[in-house]
Symmetry: C2
Subunit: 173 residues, 2 copies
């Protein structure tokens, strides 16, 4: 599965008004605590991969993200599975993986057409908007669709942030 995703800074109050006007469907609010792991055999900081256990309102999800596949979006391969968070952490640590950082955020999720729009308030970083399409192929078409949607919010390719929240949090520290 490919995750075709664009992220940019966005004022949430303004964005919410626009989303409502467009008829976007509000899905819900999630509280994320994301623990990122690095590998013993290669440095994800160099390979641009990510391995994470997300705790989200009582559930735990393990996600692997491959390296980014293009230069303006955050498109990448992604696999995820529900897990027991504590035991999965123990498995990763036993295998030699180690924690690289924690990102906490509140995410408000909207749906519009086949896009998922996330308004993220990230602890220590501020307000962001992520627009995502899950697809098996056709990166270019989906990317155009996302950027055309983002024009409504005054967001262009030059505003796209490919740095991850984790990298931003680590840079700040």
């Amino acid at each position: 599965m490919l995750e075709i995703e664009v992220k940019a800074r966005a004022d949430h109050q303004q964005a919410k008004e626009l989303l409502t006007d467009m008829g976007a469907h509000f899905i819900g609010v999630q509280h994320h605590s994301d623990t990122y792991f690095n590998a013993p055999h290669r440095d994800f900081g160099n390979t641009d991969e990510a391995l994470r256990i997300r705790s989200v309102d009582g559930r735990s999800v393990m996600t692997y993200k491959g390296k980014k596949l293009d230069t303006v979006s955050k498109t990448r391969e992604e696999f995820e599975t529900d897990v027991d968070g504590g035991n999965t952490r123990s498995i990763l640590l036993a295998l030699g993986f180690y924690e690289s950082g924690v990102v906490k955020k509140i995410r408000e999720v909207f749906k519009y057409e086949d896009m998922t729009i996330c308004l993220d308030s990230v602890e220590g970083l501020g307000e962001f908007m992520e627009v995502e399409i899950g697809a098996e192929s056709d990166i270019e078409t989906h990317k155009k669709q996302i950027f055309s949607f983002l024009e409504n919010f005054g967001i262009g390719e030059e505003d796209s942030i490919r740095t991850s929240y984790l990298e931003m949090v680590l840079e700040k520290e």
Copy 2:
């Protein structure tokens, strides 16, 4: 969590009669297809660790087992979590892990006191009995308890098999 476990060859018909006579509680039958993975950064064949995705009657479980902690039983640290089997396989492969073998078996599970007794019919290997106690400590006490229980079946320390089903399957191939 420690898994204190002893495995030996055992005739199932005879074992089942004895278990019934002792008043052991029959739990159920499970069909296991276990895919084992090896790591890119250390050889589990040398370190005596195991990482497995078990498919059991529609569920998938990922399990890590640490190296064995004594010389006559299969006692070791163990962590496990329910997972999406296909996506977890994809995550492991993307991280550089690779499949080392598959073990298929039918397991009949019984409970007696705090012990779990498994009668395993392993594809290509034959009939085995595994007795297991999960505990946080006291390996020696629990091991004595298991071997004292196994005396009823004519099984002694000299019959204990510490070789894993995977190793036995790979040796046979």
